[in-house]
């Protein structure tokens, strides 16, 4: 199985602080992966590199069958190529309705002229309605998303990601601020999504990672410390020392 995303030998330094140090990582086209690691291990910087927000000092990041380098693309082009990102804090456009949020995310031409002349057809509207129903917001379409509860905003953002139809999904601490029931729903959804695309979950909560039941990559000081099943990595002495040992 060839990799969908291949990150090799990447390093980033911020003002002398080496945030990512010779990191290599790859993920297949239909795979669920959890990335864990203590604060400052470089999890967020890793996502920033893949999505084009941060440029690495060296190394390569390639994506897709044709191994397109993501390093020369803008954030928007990377997103168009099929990389979606979910932030830890729900970031939806609070001033706009749930419907408008989803419509904006729907996979369509993204150029200014195409968007200016775009008028939603019946099929687009029904797609948006189906997506809203999928994330439990079917009856909230007309509401301003700023009025939604924290959990509902998380779901709306997940709905927007689904609308983008990404091939690779980067999810930053999806369970933060969710109730137990919401966590279970989220787990099920992530597992379901990983059947048709690659999903990378960055998570603090070990209990949540255990529930995902997938391959785990442990980051420490900007590079990969261990990789394998959760059972496997939690037995690794160096992992115990730097991460689990601290509680």
């Amino acid at each position: 199985m060839s990799a969908l995303l291949e990150v090799s030998g990447v390093s980033v330094t911020f003002d002398g602080f080496r945030a990512i140090n010779n990191l290599s990582f790859n993920i297949g086209p239909q795979e669920l992966r959890a990335i864990i690691g203590p604060n400052g291990a470089g999890k967020t910087t890793f996502m920033d590199i893949v999505t084009g927000k941060t440029r690495p000092d060296k190394g390569s990041v390639t994506f897709g069958e044709r191994s397109v380098s993501l390093l020369s693309l803008s954030e928007a082009k990377i997103a168009q190529a099929g990389v979606g990102r979910k932030f830890q804090r729900p970031t939806v456009f609070e001033d706009q309705s749930v419907f408008d949020n989803l419509m904006m995310a729907l996979k369509k031409p993204r150029g200014p002229l195409a968007v200016l002349l775009f008028r939603p057809k019946a099929e687009d509207a029904s797609k948006v309605e189906a997506l809203a129903a999928e994330v439990g917001l079917g009856d909230q379409l007309a509401r301003k998303s700023g009025e939604l509860s924290h959990g509902q905003k998380q779901w709306l953002e997940i709905g927007m990601l689904l609308a983008q139809e990404p091939r690779l999904l980067l999810v930053d601490e999806p369970a933060a601020g969710m109730t137990l029931q919401e966590r279970e729903q989220t787990t099920a959804l992530l597992v379901e999504m990983a059947k048709t695309r690659a999903v990378v979950v960055v998570e603090h909560d070990m209990e949540f990672v255990r529930r995902l039941n997938c391959k785990v990559t442990v980051l420490h000081e900007g590079s990969v410390l261990a990789e394998g099943s959760l059972e496997h990595v939690t037995k690794n002495p160096s992992v115990i020392e730097v991460y689990l040992g601290r509680g």
């Binding site: 999505t51 927000k53 803008s74 954030e75 928007a76 082009k77 997103a79 168009q80 979606g84 990102r85 932030f87 804090r89 970031t91 456009f93 609070e94 001033d95 706009q96 408008d100 419509m103 904006m104 995310a105 993204r110 150029g111 200014p112 968007v115 200016l116 775009f118 008028r119 939603p120 939604l148 509860s149 924290h150 959990g151 509902q152 927007m160 983008q164 933060a176 601020g177």
Partner: protein, 410 residues
Amino acid sequence: MKKGFLAKNPSVLIFLLCLAAFTLAVTLLSEAYGVSFLSTSFVKTLGKTLCLCLVALAMDLIWGYCGILSLGHFAFFGLGGYMIGMWLMYARTEEIVVQALAGGPLPPTPEEIVTGIGTQIFGVVGGAEVPLVWFFAHSLTAQLVLVVLVPGLLALVFGWLAFRSRVTGVYLSILTQAMTLALALYLFQNDSGLRGNNGLSGLQNLPGLDEVSQDALSVWFLWASALALGLGYLLCAWVVSGKFGSVIRAIRDDEQRVRFLGYSVENYKLAVFTLTAIIAAIAGALYYPQAGIINPAELAPIASIYLAVWVAIGGRGRLYGAVIGAAFVSLLSSWFTGGRAPDINLGIYVVKWVDWWQVLLGIAFVLVTLLAPKGIGGLFDLYQGRRLPDRKGADLGPDDSSLQEKEAVQ
């Protein structure tokens, strides 16, 4: 079920009806076509105000909707005025020169006419040659194209450089101020070819329309300005109503997130910046024939700041707010600075509004920003009973879900 554009946006229809009613009323009260209740100069003031409303619409689109506080849109307004002014002045001078030379024994050659025009127009800055920038000045069509083309290209190049380097916020505002200042300073030079600080004058006289009185012309320009404002309003309302409007408001609120959705934020900003520059230029091209004169002081940085003040007072992020703000503040301003407002005698000090108007405007701006961020347009929300729920306190963030501070405490 499909609904028409106007049915979905009732405020557009209301606005257009108000504008039509206003235009009709002014026409019926004018000296040329009505009961002579309004003086010609006041009709001109009203026509100019409509042009200012149009440039305020452009400002609202770029600032209120797209979140770019451009403090340079009066540069485009002024450039539009210069472009139309060149034709007005050239064609008018040509008429005069041809008339003057007609008495001679031989009919004048084209070269003699051009030299005559050059001496007439540029004598004041010590030149007689017609500079290269006046190459198209003989043709109305060409200058009308330039009204759109010159400011549009300037905005395109400036915007491309600024947005590509991801200059945002207050730095972009400063950059736009620098642009308008640089342009004004350039135009102040005598060798810029646009008559330096004399500017272009006599623009109120339309070539070929000598027999039409200023009374009638003022109403014609009022009609043209009202038409431009109406069409501009329709265009802006259409632009902000669909997905494009969604995307630019999203850029205003969180541009990084928009990038991760796959929209190229820079291209959108550039498109809006250029479009609004063109709208501003058209407004300027209609304004200066009514004002009669344009000089580089019109492009001074303060003019663009006033524009932002109008939109803030009127209520940004809604199109009618910008129009109301521009009309209200600029009419009030001409009342106060026109010497018609009565002075207030405090015994020890006499408040002269000509001097104190700016202070009043400044205080009004601060108060509106602090106390009524929605501006005058916000009054319509009160009337409709549309209010944000008072949640008392900030969002608590994760774990406490949608409850906010005070609610959670209970």
